[in-house]
């Protein structure tokens, strides 16, 4: 593969943008069907970009980013597939096959970034307490910078290292798999901190039953195939009924306490 510094820099910039776009901005442009032709333009072969992008997009139909799940990363997958297809002259299917280790690796990078960025929340809390909007903007910018840069670095490595990088990455991911396993386990646990904070705010001692009932109902709905994808909204329906009952009971009690009189001020 021939090395071209302009191509390499343009690719890094594009990757930086797509990496951010996959979670914010338009959330559409990063999809392979759009991203791959754009990368093709940079690499000088838009035709290949359309074919690889269209094929990749169809592959992803059954693999959508739903319910907070992280599927193999389409941004890195698409970019690396394009590098392989255009620079290493692989055919579409071979390139898409060879890029999968990068897509998996991209998933690790996302997990890692989301785990580290939990630490930024303390900074955001501080900015909020000081009523400082700029501080919140900074937190967002730092987060996007971290995510975009990590992705850009991997793309440059793939561009420079070419297909040989696949093997390096494979062995790296085999050797450090315990660390990645640990990080994703820890990442999955971080949300309990968020739940704990919410509970601290809302929880009163007369609410144990509600907490456990919501937990139980979500398990029931979640394990029935027909209701699994709608579990939370179904739980919310029942929750609304409970809240209305609670409201009714406590407002009746209030009226009774006032001797049936309206609360005269």
């Amino acid at each position: 593969m021939d090395f071209n510094i302009v191509e390499c820099v343009l690719l890094a910039i594009l990757t930086f943008f797509f990496a951010i776009d996959q979670f914010s901005l338009t959330e559409i442009v990063y999809r392979p069907i759009i991203a791959c032709p754009i990368i093709g333009l940079v690499l000088g072969d838009m035709e290949t970009g359309l074919v690889v992008g269209g094929t990749y997009e169809l592959m992803m139909i059954g693999n959508m980013p739903v319910g907070g799940a992280q599927p193999p990363n389409a941004v890195l997958g698409g970019i690396v597939a394009m590098i392989f297809a255009v620079k290493a002259n692989m055919d579409t299917n071979a390139a898409l096959g060879a890029c999968m280790i990068f897509a998996t690796f991209g998933q690790y990078v996302v997990t890692l970034t989301f785990t580290i960025m939990s630490g930024l929340m303390a900074k955001a809390d501080k900015a909020a307490e000081e009523a400082n909007p700029k501080g919140i903007t900074n937190v967002l910018n730092i987060s996007m910078l971290i995510l975009g840069s990590l992705f850009a670095v991997i793309t440059v490595l793939a561009y420079v290292g070419g297909t040989a990088m696949s093997e390096t990455l494979q062995s790296l991911s085999d050797n450090a798999s315990w660390l990645m396993g640990g990080l994703s386990a820890a990442g999955a646990m971080m949300r309990f901190v968020g739940f704990g904070i919410l509970l601290k705010i809302m929880f009163a001692n007369d609410m144990w039953g509600y907490l456990l009932a919501g937990f139980a109902l979500a398990l029931v709905f979640g394990n029935i195939a027909a209701t699994a994808s709608a579990a939370l909204i179904l739980v919310a329906f029942i929750g609304i009924m409970l809240a209305l009952m609670d409201f009714k009971t406590s407002s009746l009690t209030k009226n009774a306490g006032n001797g049936g009189m309206s609360d005269g001020i």
Binding site: I136, M144, M190, G196, L198, L232
Partner: protein, 301 residues
């Protein structure tokens, strides 16, 4: 300022209705909902950034703005395209200066269920159909494929953001007026709903945390007489007691450590990093990895 002290705004005079320019600005800002996504609060920082123009207009004194910004940093996860529905609702409540616990409860109770609806409409319906239509055009070499894809998907996304913002803001402004006469009772009822939803979130989002220990336990004869390996899967036994037991216990642990021991979120994140990585060294947590220390069991997903 400790977050549990936030009960009321100092200035409880309802603010003027937000003008369309501010609402539109927030619709565009809502695109950055996940710009600072992380596992602890998920979309919290992006959420706060999106509604900041509105909050700054509503809360003219600095103390109230600080209180509002602080409670808007709560854990939040909803569908990124449907978030403006929650925004409109919360902004109408902020504008009426309702008490803070009510706003917090309504926010989590509205946001959480929306995630599922948004996914079903967008990622499972609109995108597969659009992709099916346009991908073959692209494969045949037509640039119209990606362009159409962008117009349909981005158009639907922005239409949804705009429509939901105005609809829920107007609806909220009308509904919120009725809540104020029974404010205290309403807060309690909203908290009931909030706690109920948090219980559901633990089961719905927590399922990823499970044990991966599968102990080989000799062999047994199958029906056709061949010998098959038998494994004891510890998680299966736990599931027979209570499914999602570990997520429930971890959440309660966080609650008690924050409430009784005064743990900060950062400290808890550090704690979970240690629990996660040490657990993976010994092959305790489920996942596709090889433990660093050789252990006499298999790690399963």
């Amino acid at each position: 300022m400790a977050s549990n002290e936030l009960l009321n705004y100092k200035d409880t005079t309802p603010a003027a209705r937000l003008d369309n320019k501010t609402l539109n600005k927030m619709v565009w800002r809502s695109c950055q909902l996940q710009a600072a996504f992380n596992y602890e609060r998920m979309q919290a920082a992006g959420w706060l950034w999106s509604i900041l123009p509105g909050l700054q207009k509503i809360h003219t004194n600095k103390e109230d703005l600080a209180a509002s910004m602080t409670h808007n940093m709560d854990f939040l996860n909803t569908h990124p395209f449907a978030v403006t529905f929650v925004m409109g609702m919360i902004l109408s409540m902020e504008q009426q200066k309702l008490d803070i616990p009510t706003i917090r409860s309504v926010r989590i109770s509205t946001a959480a269920p929306l995630g599922g609806i948004g996914d079903a409409l967008f990622w499972m319906t609109l995108i597969p159909i659009t992709a099916g239509m346009t991908a073959n055009m692209a494969i045949d070499g037509s640039i119209l494929g990606p362009i159409l894809y962008f117009i349909i998907a981005f158009g639907a996304e922005m239409a949804l953001r705009y429509g939901l913002m105005y609809w829920s803001y107007n609806m909220g402004t009308k509904a919120v007026g009725m809540m104020t006469s029974y404010a205290k009772e309403f807060t309690h009822a909203a908290s009931v709903l909030g706690v109920f939803i948090i219980g559901a979130l633990i089961a719905n989002y927590g399922g990823g945390t499970k044990l991966g220990i599968s102990i080989p336990n000799g062999q047994t004869a199958a029906e056709d007489g061949t010998m098959v390996d038998v494994f004891i899967n510890i998680q299966e036994y736990l599931d027979k007691i209570v499914p999602c037991l570990i997520p429930l216990l971890f959440t309660l642990m966080c609650y008690f450590l924050i409430k009784k021991k005064g743990f900060t979120p950062v400290k808890l994140i550090g704690l979970f990093l240690v629990i996660g990585i040490v657990g993976a060294i010994f092959g305790i947590w489920a996942g596709e990895y090889t433990p660093l220390v050789p252990v006499p069991w298999n790690v399963i997903k």
